[in-house]
């Protein structure tokens, strides 16, 4: 049988992330189209406990309960996955674009001498291999690319597919491969939790983002209220992150996150190119801005000319009333 298709799925706090479950679903779909076996690889403490959750998406699960101890999880994952790939020789390995996913992918590239399709927003099975869709030049162009070899890494963005349960779950195999590399030691001396950091704007289906127009840290109150009412996450421009009004985890754009929610509400955001490249592939874009000539008018679907402090609270109330 032709080589398998694998997903390497991230976990946070012992649970697979939504992004990880999407990769499992995507791998399952590709495996069916290609008539190839599929597997999801989970590495980390609690991997076998989390295996059932990921098995429900179809692929078999390879659960490696490796304890990273004081080492970064990406290094531990890369060592084990490298060993598994050498031993079982899958053809294609999907990883996520999360920080850990990219670190793992970069290490694997060097260990295996495998090339990669990067920053992929969708994958379909082509004539004889995967075909990846990539949004390039800040969304001005969409390319389709294939691997030039019969194997390789595919690094996939969140929301390439919706995570779905398969008709029947995959089997679970617990394994403990010896590390396939001896990476230079790095020690995690401390892990610090910050309430403000626990946001994953990349996974949100609705984002309400605020820019300098919110006027100050308190100005994010009306942004947050609308995000809550819509069941969404709060985004931000670099200008407000630099000003310390909100954390970097919220920043969208060239040196922040790239997002593709179904709805993006931009409040008090001018729409600079470095912001635009991180959000212009969003489904629907609604902008609220005092200035009718702000550049964001050029790529929004609705441009509301007005004061965000007059619009947002009323919009929040209207959304709540509708939902009630």
């Amino acid at each position: 049988m032709a080589g398998a298709i694998w997903a390497v799925c991230d976990m946070v706090d012992g649970l697979p992330t939504r992004h990880g479950r999407e990769l499992a679903t995507l791998t399952w779909a590709l495996g069916r189209a290609a008539s190839r076996p599929t597997a999801s690889v989970l590495v980390g403490p609690g991997a076998s406990a989390a295996a059932d959750a990921i098995a429900s998406h179809g692929p078999d699960v390879l659960a490696v309960d490796a304890d990273p101890g004081e080492r970064p999880i990406a290094a531990v994952t890369a060592e084990r996955v490298a060993a598994l790939i050498r031993e079982r020789q899958p053809a294609y390995v999907l990883l996520g674009t999360s920080d850990d996913g990219r670190d793992t992918a970069g290490i694997l590239q060097a260990l295996l001498e495998w090339g990669a399709l990067v920053n992929v927003s969708a994958v379909r099975w082509g004539d004889d291999g995967p075909v990846a869709e990539v949004s390039v030049f800040g969304g001005r162009l969409v390319t389709e690319s294939r691997l030039t070899q019969d194997h390789g890494l595919i690094i996939v963005r969140p929301s390439a597919v919706a995570a779905e349960a398969a008709e029947r779950p995959g089997g679970v195999e617990r394994i403990d491969p010896a590390p396939g590399a001896d990476l230079a030691p790095v020690r995690v001396v401390d892990r610090v939790g910050e309430a403000s950091a626990a946001v994953s704007i990349e996974e949100a289906t609705v984002i309400v983002a605020g820019g300098r127009g919110v006027g100050g840290p308190e100005g994010f109150g009306v942004v947050r209220d609308l995000a809550d009412a819509l069941g969404g996450a709060v985004g931000a421009t670099r200008a407000v992150v630099d000003s310390g009004w909100i954390g970097y985890a919220h920043q969208i754009g060239q040196t922040g996150k790239s997002v593709k929610p179904q709805l993006y509400v931009a409040a008090g955001i001018s729409g600079a190119i470095q912001h635009k490249v991180g959000m212009q592939t969003s489904g629907t874009i609604v902008a609220i801005n005092k200035d009718p000539d702000a550049p964001i008018a050029e790529f929004a679907d609705m441009m509301v000319v007005g004061d965000l402090f007059e619009i947002l609270p009323r919009l929040t109330a209207a959304v709540r009333a509708r939902r009630a």
């Binding site: 999360s98 990669a116 990846a132 390039v136």
Partner: protein
């Protein structure tokens, strides 16, 4: 402290275009990659604090020189540019191979890379280079604190729930983010001085790399199609008073089944 900054020259964001052969056009108008300027700034501050020298390393065609000159004007002591016609069309795998071979010929305590690039969008080259050279790899840095006496470096790495503090022995490779701080502007004096600073150019032959192992012939990805995304219809402009405006937004969102 001897620091090498991996500095990529990228097309100015918003002006990128393709060549006939579906490669990214790098024939003009290159600037330093945003994230690479943050690590450059962090590196310059470290040299100011601990003494030593900062050198930039760029793999890129001649128009990259403009970005390199700016880094020299900001305070880098000298620069290395790997230039070779055979490099055109190189993917991340080849880039990692070439940068690792170049770094191997340089002396450093810290190699600094950006978290990712605006054109490559991979965010994988730093990890690959570190792995090839057997260097500790510390990524997504919001702060870099070397302890030259102890020969170690600490990095604050952004995590999904806050941050981790990582520690490793030097030499090490650190990939950094915007949180390292705003890059400085080159001073007039810096710009003048940069003119006489040295940019060493290395070829693939200098690095002992087989040209067939890089560039278009060795790339792992081939573009099949490139099309502009579906155009938006153009914005519906709403200029009503707040109450009426909100009614229109709600209608609009409801029609699109977003609420």
């Amino acid at each position: 402290m001897r620091i090498v900054v991996l500095l990529k020259a990228v097309p100015v964001v918003g002006t990128e275009k393709m060549t006939g052969g579906w490669l990214l056009d790098r024939s003009a108008g290159l600037e330093s990659n945003g994230n690479d300027e943050y690590v450059l700034e962090a590196g310059l501050k470290l040299v100011e604090a601990h003494g030593g020298e900062l050198v930039t390393l760029t793999m890129g065609p001649s128009p990259a020189t403009e970005a390199i000159r700016k880094a020299l004007a900001m305070g880098a002591a000298r620069a290395v540019q790997v230039v070779d016609e055979a490099l055109a069309g190189s993917d991340a795998l080849a880039t990692g191979r070439v940068l690792a071979a170049a770094l191997q010929r340089m002396e450093f305590d810290l190699a600094l890379a950006g978290a990712d690039t605006s054109d490559g969008q991979g965010g994988v080259v730093g990890a690959a280079v570190a792995t090839r050279l057997g260097l500790p790899y510390l990524s997504y840095a919001a702060a870099i604190e070397p302890d030259p006496a102890a020969g170690t470096v600490r990095v604050r790495r952004i995590s999904p729930t806050g941050y981790d503090v990582l520690e490793a022995r030097m030499p090490a490779l650190v990939a950094g983010t915007q949180l390292l701080g705003e890059p400085r502007y080159p001073s007039l004096r810096g710009i003048m001085q940069a003119r006489s600073k040295q940019i060493a150019t290395w070829s693939l032959a200098d690095l002992g790399i087989d040209p067939a192992s890089v560039g278009t012939p060795a790339t792992w990805s081939a573009v099949l199609t490139a099309t502009p995304p579906a155009q938006r219809a153009g914005a519906t402009i709403v200029r009503d008073a707040p109450e009426a405006a909100v009614e229109r937004i709600v209608e609009f969102l409801a029609a699109r089944r977003l609420i």
